[in-house]
Subunit: 329 residues, 2 copies
DNA sequence: AAACGTAATGTAACCACTTACATTTGGAAG
DNA sequence: CTTCCAAATGTAAGTGGTTACATTACGTTT
């Protein structure tokens, strides 16, 4: 139906090899010939067939972004941001981007190989077995926002420890000592990073931490609101709450508003991620800005470098995170 | 490097045709033979090569979701929701999902054909020329959240008129007559739908509409805040504001808070889309729920039906939208 | 036991390119 | 006008499957 290289070859009176060269390495064919071929191609509406090309070249030019997360995958503003960065950077290359969830790719055995991708970016809670399977199939892997102990993989991270440290220091500077953390059950990596960073920063400031200082909750508004209410009505009400992300922080603000606890006068609240939400609230919310867009772009850069066969000198990259001080502190 | 159908054929002592059948139509080969083939495949770590298969079958099993939008593509919660639905539904099929932006696909001529997709879902402000180009290349097209005048395409929409009507009726029921619309410059289709629906609903209720009733703004928080401030400090302050989406509504709430205008007592605010934001605010925000996830899934259903060669009896589907009444009205 | 029909399997062409290697071409140098 | 060499082009063998068609196997029926 669509015309092929043979049709063009016939019409322009050159061999298929020459036609092929015109489209993949134009320099190698003489000006005049090239023009004739292009004209014939024009007439026939010819466009190279990517499948056949992939077959002959043994390359697919496809990479994938897999989100390793159960619920609300791309809906999570954090992953959406990374995804946006990945898309933008991928668009600069000749690669095409496939998107799916890790769950979906686990179903059929060997499915990944069939998918015929050259490289993959795993976002979130990546599992070691999946990574190993990819490596067995010679598919390049880059991790974003997680890390697998024992596997030395290229990964792109945000500086969680630095972000949390800035929060604690900022609150300390504002005179807070009764600081509590409302820790949402985020991905294992993020949860433990932020939790440990919190303990470390508190220790560095010499602020005592006890069992009351950290409260866990599910990462949704209602759970956060409930948990924050408990924190605020407990025996020793904190003067500042560090919520482990912005959604949880918004729940905290709701609890405060309902309990008529004035923010920031009676309670300081800090979130994490600097999502769009932060400036939609009044007062606007203090949070830590993570460069998710840049993280996504960096992933693609890393991956394409790997695919070019380059050795990565520094596989793991940790991007700085910056505290953005706003009205809630 | 990877083993091929020939290797399996040799090891199991059958022809390549039989091996092929074992993997694409197992019923057609005898139990015993099938087992031998599968064992050989196991030993050789054989998996069918998707590229070669696509080549022989003249099918790629790939569809794409293109977002026709300049900025903040996938970051827009609305499109993220659609995308999530598309992903989920695609995962149920044998298709793979490519994702990109319309802009990126417009760059190189004929690029679409090279991409070798069988169908495409265009989200947002789709352009007629792009659609025509796809159709010329026999690529099935489904539109979501937009419509192209003069082109009879399958499209999946949300009932904008109904959603807006519910808003106006709800505000009317609450006794409001000084109702203003804060209209963000969203996509042309959405903007005009919501605007016209507003005028129509107001007319139906017999509420007079003048030049002061509708104010335009850019679809970001700051612009919305500015515009809302003007509305609220103008000569005839409205008692209710319908913002054309939740982001703009949040700007309206900010303006109200800053001007010490009490919501909902002195001002009712309604958004549109029922984004996650709505329940993160205190009071929670009244908004219109759009079934974006379902819209995404429906797109894939439509597209796969088209690809199966089915004739769509009712190409355009309009999903109902429901007003969710919360604390701001 | 021969004849027959269907199910199972094999043969080989085809899908649309790329590319190693062979051949031709064209112009500069002798 | 040769000779020579690099550049341009052609030839044909892959790339890994699918599938129309041909052939063989095998259980039934006569």
């Amino acid at each position: 139906m669509n015309s092929t290289i043979y049709d063009v070859s016939r019409l322009s009176g050159v061999s298929t090899a020459t036609v092929s060269r015109v489209f993949s390495d134009p320099e190698r064919v003489r000006e005049g010939t090239r023009r004739r071929v292009l004209e014939a191609a024009e007439v026939l509406h010819y466009h190279p067939n990517a499948i056949a090309r992939a077959m002959a070249k043994q390359r697919t030019d496809k990479i994938a972004f897999l989100i390793c997360k159960q619920r609300a995958t791309i809906l999570d503003e954090f992953y959406a941001g990374i995804c946006d960065g990945i898309m933008q950077e991928t668009n600069k290359t000749d690669y095409q981007l496939l998107i799916s969830t890790a769950d979906a790719w686990k179903t059929t055995a060997g499915t990944a190989q069939r998918k015929q991708i050259e490289g993959v970016i795993l976002g979130g809670n990546a599992q070691a077995d999946m990574v190993l399977e990819f490596q067995n199939q010679h598919i390049a892997v880059v991790l974003v926002n997680s890390r697998i102990p024992g596997l030395d993989l290229p990964c792109v991270l945000s500086d969680e420890e630095g972000g949390v440290r800035q929060i604690v220091e900022h609150l300390w500077d504002r005179g807070h000592t009764r600081i509590a953390m409302l820790a949402g059950r985020l991905s294992p990596y993020i949860s433990s990073e932020r939790y440990n960073a919190f303990l470390k920063a508190m220790r560095q400031k010499g602020i005592p931490v006890d069992s009351q200082s950290v409260k866990m909750c599910s990462p949704d508004v209602e759970s956060a609101t409930r948990a924050a209410t408990e924190l605020l009505t407990g025996s020793r009400r904190p003067s500042a709450i560090f919520a482990s992300n912005d959604v949880i922080a918004s729940g905290t603000l709701k609890a405060a508003a309902r309990l008529k606890v004035k923010v920031p006068e009676e309670l300081a609240v800090v979130g994490y991620d600097d999502s769009a939400l932060c400036t939609m609230l009044e007062p606007e919310m203090t949070s830590v800005h993570t460069h998710r867009h840049r993280m996504g772009r960096l992933c693609v850069e890393r991956l394409t470098a790997l695919l070019k066969g380059e050795e990565l000198t520094e596989p793991t990259t940790i991007l700085p995170a910056e505290l953005v001080i706003r009205g809630t502190t």
